[in-house]
């Protein structure tokens, strides 16, 4: 085996592709070969690097230096200075002061354990890190009920927003007698500001597939669909390659590992409707119908896709499963809090120094996440609020900075963890503007099936627009809250039930702002 002096990880994602990373890599390889460094410097194309630099980003090991916004013109200097002489080029570095080196938290990495390290398009890379051992174990050494017990015991809760215990969900479907059962992966990540599932899939598609396979085995499903939003082109390409590789390796297909178990996985591309992230609307869409939600009960676990028992799980939820099977529930429970085990992947964006992605223990406070994983607030700005959980989430004020971020702790403040998006706002940002933006989003995404949501989202949008223009009154503010509450109580699905969260938290925490603008 070759010995490399340095490993250079290049993040391939939608952003870097748009910045021309492919031709950048060609030029870099050419430069390395020109300088005779090809055998010393290992170039590895990988997924998300764990920080959000602009454009093309690199991480160089072993010194752990991060570069961002690289251009092809920078290549000669980079190669000469850093790769040849070992002097990192300060002007190209993510943090030129070098004080903050945002990285994934290694201690807590379960879901992102391979992200930014292995080549996501190589099944061998994944297998090399212990990949598909859990699948082999689940298939050949465990009974479905043992798998479900282990997942139940681990305390794994759904990461899509609602937080329903995954093992319990599986246990409803597993005992049902049916000709056909299905697993559907909800990869229709539509919550504004949330892209953790994209990064999980871009960085390590096999881990999702492995979790999905184990779930299929546990409930007895022989067909699985990954419902993914159409914009996620790179994810789709990588997942498809991963599925094809699994098929050719005999990891899925017929009579897998001679266990008698069959499994096939198909990707279904969504057309961009937010409501299709709701599991029953997703099922309707999968069936080729309009994305309208169905009434529950019956739940999909009993009557789902084509009326067959169907488990719908979020990407992140399933990506936790291989760890639980290999390391065991006890090991898993060492992460997080007793009520809320494991880790959580967040996307942090807005007015922080280093917007990015992190995987932290459940229960990590918002303050810790912002300060330790995002480098604190952007220079010169003060924290005002964080919108946690996307449009369906809520505004957390400074008072809640030290609340543990887990489902149980947040519940005490009627808050939810939601999708894992943290949007940080500085003191100059207007809550009213932000709320306007959220309500415009709901107005646009309401499917129009049920009256409360169809009419309510439009009324809310018109009211907040009026308030934003300085033409509203405090009665309008109250009316908005009343409408949203009626929507929460009477809307058909979670979409119409959600706007109350942002509205109530905005009005309760930032009432002064509403008073000021309505009295203008």
């Amino acid at each position: 085996m070759k010995y490399y002096r340095s490993h250079v990880l290049i993040g391939i994602n939608e952003t870097s592709l748009a910045a021309g990373v492919e031709s950048f890599i060609k030029a870099l390889r050419a430069e390395l070969s020109k300088t005779g460094l090809s055998d010393e410097i290992n170039l590895l194309e990988t997924g998300p690097l764990g920080f959000f630099g602009k454009g093309i980003c690199l991480t160089v090991y072993p010194e752990n230096v991060n570069y961002e916004n690289l251009k092809e013109a920078d290549i000669p200097e980079l190669v000469q200075e850093h790769f040849l002489k070992g002097r990192p080029v300060a002007r190209l570095m993510l943090d030129s002061a070098g004080k903050f080196s945002p990285k994934f938290n290694y201690k807590s990495r379960i879901v992102l354990r391979n992200s930014g390290i292995i080549d996501p398009e190589s099944i061998d890379d994944y297998i090399g890190t212990g990949g598909y051992e859990a699948w082999e174990k689940a298939l050949t050494k465990m009974q479905p009920k043992d798998i479900i017990e282990e997942v139940k015991e681990s305390g794994l809760r759904g990461r899509g927003g609602a937080g329903f215990p995954a093992g319990v969900k599986w246990s409803f479907t597993a005992p049902l007698e049916a000709k056909q059962k299905y697993v559907v992966v909800n990869a229709d990540e539509g919550e504004p500001g949330t892209f953790k599932d994209r990064l999980i899939m871009e960085g390590d598609p096999h881990q999702l597939l492995e979790g999905l396979m184990i779930c299929a085995r546990a409930i007895g499903a022989t067909k699985a669909y990954i419902y993914i939003r159409g914009e996620y082109k790179l994810c789709i390409m990588r997942l498809q390659k991963a599925i094809d590789d699994c098929r050719s390796y005999g990891i899925i297909g017929e009579n897998i590992f001679e266990s008698g178990f069959d499994l096939d996985i198909q990707i279904k591309i969504g057309a961009g409707a937010y409501v299709c992230g709701e599991e029953t609307a997703m099922i309707e869409s999968l069936e080729g119908n309009r994305g309208h939600p169905r009434w529950k009960p019956p739940f999909p676990g009993v009557k789902g896709l084509w009326q067959a028992p169907t488990v719908v799980n979020n990407v992140e939820t399933l990506a936790n499963v291989p760890f639980i099977i290999i390391k065991g529930a006890q090991e898993y429970k060492k992460f997080g809090t007793p009520q809320c085990t494991g880790t959580k992947v967040y996307t942090i964006l807005g007015d922080v120094a280093y917007p990015g992605l992190c995987e932290v223990d459940m229960g990590t406070t918002l303050r810790t996440i912002i300060n330790e994983y995002a480098g604190g607030m952007k220079k010169g700005f003060k924290f005002k609020a964080a919108l946690v959980g996307g449009a369906a989430g809520m505004f957390l004020s400074e008072k809640l900075l030290d609340v543990k971020m887990d489902l149980a702790s947040l519940d005490q403040y009627s808050a939810v963890l939601g999708s894992g998006a943290i949007l940080v706002m500085n003191e100059h940002q207007s809550i009213v503007d932000m709320l306007w933006s959220i309500l415009r989003f709901f107005r646009h995404e309401s499917c129009g099936k049920c009256s409360p949501c169809k009419t309510g989202t439009q009324q809310l949008y018109l009211l907040i627009s009026k308030i934003k223009k300085g033409e509203g009154t405090m009665e309008d503010v109250e009316l908005m809250q009343n409408i949203a509450e009626a929507m929460q109580q009477t809307s058909f699905c979670a979409l119409g039930q959600s706007p109350i969260m942002a509205i109530r938290s905005a009005i309760e925490n930032f009432r002064d702002e509403f008073i000021a603008i309505t009295q203008k």
Binding site: A273, R290, H292, W295, P297, R443, H444, E445, S446, C447, G448, K449, C450, S451, P452, C453, K454, T455, G456, T457, Q458, Q459, L462, L479, N482, I483, A486, Q488, Q489, T490, S491, F492, Q497
Partner: protein
């Protein structure tokens, strides 16, 4: 059988089958939960949210229309909170609705209006946010007004799931979402068969017939015109209910009196041509049987069914009777036989039909129905329009003294009157076909097997000299589809239809449940009106079409014999193949006999 569970609704203990929804359980036990989009005849769409109830152990209320009962469930249907939510909901719905109640076709019948009133809703609490859309006037039968639509989804359900016509669908999202036809091309460019079931189930005035009331009034008031009117069998049992009389009151003679008072020059009756239809269709059926045809004969009275057949089963068009509908037979005879008998210039005759049906408006406009040398039927009014006309004329229907119709085209047998209920045409046909085949009279004229509201009814009638006559009766186009699929399959695999003779009516319950019938036209009222027709049948002196003296006279003096050359010319028609997407004619598939 589902097992029973114990539930408590507002503290009252009930034992109900576990497959019931909360609203069904409540209705059965006299607890009325406010509702808007729910209709007991249809699967719930659960769109409006008004029927929310609290269920112990649930943090948010649940919809009663689609939540099944469960053991130990404790349900609260009325609380301050629930009332407030319902009010807010109705206010929101009204804020996106064209509120023009006094002039709306559905005024006083509108379920939204009633609900808003019952809940004490303030219609001005929210600004009206409706952006007016174009009203769909493309169809000659049905107007679709999106500004009054509250997206309850009943029309989509009845069109697609009950009738399987697939003309209506949802489009767009959120506040822009609307119920429309494919690509928004309008009802006339859709597979709509004009059955009008959507108008019957629409809780507001968003779907209604295209009214021809003004034109009819103008004709009546024009001294140069001779206005002749016919009324379908079901009309006589559908009027009294509007005027405080019991549902299913049999009121033919009040109907004639009202029509005469309104000013029609000649008051006749479609029941007469119902009997005539039996002579024509029955003869066709008997000829078919005698020829040993493997293909069935299917009735042709229902214009919704005819367009449905032309759209979805044009390959079986040759199985459908060529006999025109009773309405169109009347129309052609009014401008030929009647004109001749009374020495009236047919150009001056205006022929008006009062029908329980919106599809009849389409039928009247079929260009091929002009064998009199004029458009055979000039105007069609639905039962609802006729009711409005009675009120406009200031007639108190309940107390108006009974009158007889004019003579010549108004006498009818019991067989003619039961045309208005599902199975009625079949029963009427059997009563006469028996005689046509055997030369003898059928003793027991009550063919119970083809009566009632079961979706598809089958019976075997032994006719001496022929053997077993296998018949089927379907009402509602979803049931028609089932029967037609079996016919198609039978012809394909066995070279033979499962039945010799089939009656199909487009509307559930037959014409008594027609798309032009009064609002609130649910299964129960359809059944009651149907029974009223059978009551009238029992009370009539003549119960077989071939004994109708006026029918006998029209053959003697004008047509000759059933299926004669002249009868073929005037009383029979032909069919087309239509596009499944646009409903437009593609080609002629059967031809007229000459």
């Amino acid at each position: 059988m589902a097992k029973n569970v114990n539930v408590w609704i507002d503290g009252h203990h009930l034992e109900v089958p576990e497959d019931m929804t909360i609203i069904e359980a409540a209705d059965q036990h006299g607890v009325y939960i406010p509702r808007l989009c729910y209709h007991p005849d249809l699967p719930p769409t659960a769109n409006c949210g008004v029927c929310v109830v609290d269920i112990s152990g649930n943090p948010t209320p649940k919809r009663a229309c689609c939540t099944p009962v469960a053991e130990g469930m404790k349900i609260t249907t009325n609380s301050k909170k629930l009332r407030d939510y319902r009010k807010t909901l109705v206010e929101m719905i009204l804020s996106h609705h064209e509120v023009v109640c006094p002039t709306c076709a559905a005024n006083n019948k509108c379920e939204l209006q009633t609900l808003a009133n019952n809940l004490g809703v303030d219609p001005y609490s929210l600004p009206n946010i409706l952006e007016m859309k174009e009203v769909d006037m493309s169809s000659s039968a049905i107007i679709r007004d999106p500004n009054k639509c509250i997206s309850c989804g009943r029309c989509v359900t009845v069109c697609n799931e009950v009738q399987t016509v697939y003309a209506l669908t949802n489009s767009d999202r959120g506040i822009e979402s609307e119920i429309t036809t494919a690509f928004g091309l309008g009802m006339n460019n859709s597979p709509c068969v004009n059955c009008g079931q959507c108008t019957v189930y629409c809780p507001t005035g968003a779907l209604r017939e295209r009214s021809e009331l003004d034109e009819v009034w103008d004709a009546i008031l024009d001294p140069d015109k001779h206005v002749i009117v016919q009324e379908a069998p079901s009309i006589r049992v559908s009027l009294g209910e509007e005027f405080g009389m019991p549902l299913g009151s049999v009121t033919p003679k009040k109907m004639y009196a009202a029509l005469r008072k309104i000013g029609f020059d000649s008051v006749m009756d479609t029941n007469f041509t119902a009997d005539l239809t039996i002579m024509e269709e029955g003869t066709e059926c008997v000829n078919n049987l005698k020829a040993g045809s493997k293909r069935p004969l299917i009735t042709s009275c229902s214009p919704g069914w005819i367009k449905f057949m032309e759209t979805y089963y044009p390959d079986l068009a040759d199985c459908v009777s060529t006999a025109k509908s009773p309405m169109s037979m009347f129309g052609v005879l009014a401008k030929t036989y009647y004109a001749q008998e009374h020495g009236i210039d047919p150009a001056k005759i205006v022929s008006v039909a009062i029908m329980p049906c919106t599809a009849k408006k389409f039928e009247a406009r079929r260009p091929e129905l002009n064998d009199s040398g004029y458009q055979d039927t000039d105007y069609v009014l639905t039962t609802r329009e006729f009711l409005r006309m009675i009120k406009e004329a200031g007639i108190d229907f309940a107390t108006i003294p009974e009158e007889e119709p004019d003579e010549g085209m108004s006498f009818y047998s019991g067989a003619g009157t039961i045309f208005g209920a599902t199975g009625g045409v079949m029963e009427a046909a059997i009563r006469s076909a028996y005689t046509l085949v055997t030369g003898e009279e059928l003793e027991n004229v009550n063919i119970e097997a083809v009566r009632g509201l079961e979706g598809v009814k089958e019976a075997t009638v032994n006719i001496p000299g022929f053997g077993d006559l296998r018949v089927a009766v379907a009402h509602g186009l979803g049931n028609a589809r089932k029967v037609m699929d079996q016919v198609r399959e039978g012809l394909k695999t066995k070279g033979e239809s499962p039945w010799h003779f089939i009656e199909i009516m487009a509307c559930p319950g037959g014409c008594v449940g027609g798309g032009g019938q009064p609002y609130g036209n649910d299964i129960a009222s359809r059944a009651r009106r149907g029974l009223a027709l059978y009551e009238e049948d029992r009370s009539l002196p003549v119960r077989k079409s071939h004994h109708n003296p006026e029918v006998q006279r029209v053959y003697e003096r004008f047509l000759g014999a059933p299926n004669s050359k002249l009868a073929q010319k005037l009383l029979h028609t032909y069919y087309f193949k239509r596009s499944v997407s646009s409903g437009q004619v593609v080609e002629e598939v059967t031809h007229k006999h000459h």
